[in-house]
């Protein structure tokens, strides 16, 4: 019997690791993966709560999150490929044309 707190703590930890990835990595693909990791952490929390409260709402929400993440990845990767095509470089530390 595992207390749900552990799951939530794990979820939080994974989330922070994902966030850290977004903050410190310069490769947009890895940044993207980190975002996926964050989503995944959130999903874990959802399923844990779903299991505790004996309802499917959390699982269904995870289902939607997975679908949306897939859509996001498709478009995001297409964008990255397009950026690479036009700039021959995808280092996000050099993509700062929105500078103020």
């Amino acid at each position: 019997m595992v207390p749900v707190d552990y799951y939530i703590a794990l979820s939080a930890l994974l989330f922070v690791l994902g966030a850290l990835g977004v903050l410190i990595r310069r490769n947009p693909l890895i940044v993207f993966m980190s975002v996926e990791l964050m989503l995944n952490a959130a999903n874990l929390a959802f399923v844990a709560f779903s299991s505790v409260f004996k309802t499917f709402n959390g699982q269904i929400f995870v289902f939607f999150v997975i679908a949306v993440a897939a859509a996001e990845v498709a478009v995001g990767l297409a964008l990255i490929v397009e950026i690479f095509k036009s700039r021959k470089n995808i280092n996000i530390d050099e993509l700062n044309s929105l500078k103020g």
């Binding site: 019997m1 595992v2 207390p3 749900v4 707190d5 799951y7 939530i8 703590a9 794990l10 939080a12 930890l13 994974l14 989330f15 922070v16 690791l17 966030a19 850290l20 990835g21 903050l23 990595r25 310069r26 490769n27 693909l29 890895i30 993207f32 993966m33 980190s34 996926e36 990791l37 995944n40 874990l44 399923v47 844990a48 779903s50 299991s51 505790v52 499917f56 699982q59 269904i60 995870v62 289902f63 939607f64 997975i66 679908a67 949306v68 993440a69 897939a70 859509a71 996001e72 990845v73 478009v75 990767l77 297409a78 990255i80 490929v81 397009e82 690479f84 995808i90 280092n91 050099e94």
Partner: protein, 174 residues
């Protein structure tokens, strides 16, 4: 210590380790592989939590499709590792500090709230039967019909968007 707890701890160690591996791999392909491992671990968590459908969907979609797509892009662009740049030297230490603070805060909040200590039931027979799946499907297609349809449209739009973005302009060919 029950066997459940041991399994949980081992798996969470793997999950955290693979997440860290993803974070600190020099090579993006290794990052992706670590993330796949992480996803599979999380899928096992889902199984433990009595959500086989979500677990399978997780593996199929995340590990099977999304991460393969990532690998594709990494390999096609040759983006395994990037040349070092000195754009934001102060970012890294600050990020670590903040992450640490956030973890501490999160753990503090989780431990200080007593009402959620309910234990997660191990996957009992009722959840792992066709009936529960059916129940979930009924819920998905009754209560969540609109979000479901919206999600399908979202996927369609994403598909079209990805195709349009990645499509090569054909020159002189109709």
């Amino acid at each position: 210590m029950t066997s459940d707890l041991i399994v949980f701890l081992v798996l969470s160690l793997i999950a955290i380790a693979s997440a860290l591996g993803m974070l600190f791999s020099k090579n993006a392909v290794y990052s992706a592989l670590f993330l796949v491992l992480n996803f599979i671990t999380v899928a096992v968590f889902y199984l433990l939590l009595g959500a086989p459908f979500i677990a399978m969907a997780q593996i199929t979609v995340y590990a099977g499709a999304v991460m393969v797509l990532f690998l594709f892009v990494i390999m096609l662009l040759g983006a395994e590792s990037l040349a070092p740049s000195q754009a934001l030297p102060w970012q890294k230490p600050l990020a670590f500090t903040l992450a640490l603070v956030l973890v501490v805060e999160a753990v503090y909040i989780i431990l200080s709230r007593a009402q959620l200590t309910a234990a997660v039931a191990s996957p009992d027979a009722s959840l792992n039967s066709m009936d529960s799946l059916r129940e979930m499907a009924m819920m998905l297609f009754n209560n969540y019909l609109l979000p479901f349809e919206v999600t399908s449209i979202l996927l369609l739009v994403a598909m079209v968007g990805a195709i349009v973005l990645a499509k090569q302009e054909k020159v002189g060919l109709k």
